[in-house]
Assembly symmetry: C2
Homo-oligomer: 170 residues x 2
């Protein structure tokens, strides 16, 4: 995954933006980390290597990278989180998202190919995500554990990701 980070660094440079140590570390963090990171998590991960780092620098750079299309921002029940973009150099796809470990599995299936819309509605965008439990978490669960806690009535919210850091998409 290191080359992903390097490429993004070059993207920054090509846009005339300064490549500071903070930005380099930030990009590397997202290039190497699976799933989602909140601004707070990002801050605590960076502050260890950058004593004196401030929250506003984190926020500014997260926003910058989001505007650049490098990062994607999502809202979860426990706040805003970022993750490296999937649009970079892959074709359009969607995700299976594990509610237990936050692992993300890409699926090529796109519902828009099957959808007939009322003619007067002009489609601009769509969101499709599938939530559930991945094989690994299910087998762990078999050895006695919680099952669907962390899921509220609407199923919209997600349980906090555990510490696992395995990248399965992008």
């Amino acid at each position: 995954m290191a080359q992903v980070g390097e490429r993004l660094i070059r993207t920054l440079s090509a846009k005339g933006l300064r490549v500071t140590e903070q930005r380099r570390t930030l990009v590397r963090l997202f290039a190497e980390t699976s799933s989602y990171l909140s601004p707070k998590e990002v801050y605590f991960r960076l502050v260890s290597t950058h004593p004196g780092l401030s929250y506003d620098t984190v926020y500014r750079n997260l926003r910058l990278l989001q505007d650049l299309g490098v990062l994607e921002r999502y809202h979860f029940d426990d706040g805003v989180k970022f993750r490296i973009g999937c649009f970079e150099d892959r074709h359009h796809h969607h995700h299976l998202i594990c509610l237990s470990c936050s692992r993300i599995v890409p699926i090529d299936f796109c519902p828009m190919k099957h959808l007939n819309v009322p003619g007067e509605f002009q489609i601009v965008d769509h969101h499709f995500d599938v939530y559930g439990y991945c094989g690994q978490c299910r087998s762990q669960e078999d050895r006695g554990a919680e099952s669907m806690e962390g899921l509220n009535h609407s199923g919209f919210e997600r349980k906090k990701p555990s510490g696992k850091e395995e990248r399965l998409c992008c």
Copy 2:
């Protein structure tokens, strides 16, 4: 739509919860209002009939009704918004959402009928929403207007809804 509000009031009562004037007005507001309302919007709508109303009462009741499954909470770019639940007494469906006027059009199509998932992944929930511009907004747009402003690079965020209040779903 008045009977929807009355039914929800009875739901409150049946759960042993007090039916206060604030709650009655709040439920009626959501029963009669289309699209989404932020806590702030809810507050300003209620404070006119309830002078002295406080924000925390709004927040507490929004959360209460969400926990009861009456309201659904969504995160948009400009913050959290609520809307009356669609699960009440309708079959499963999805939505076309107008990026201009926030109008919501139900569609019966569900992508899950067409999706083959990896066997080890246990599906619990899914989200599917289509964003675009409804026929009414498109025809207004024809008479010279903005087109896709309010949409960011990822298309995830939505433009602020205009003042229109026409309920097309639930």
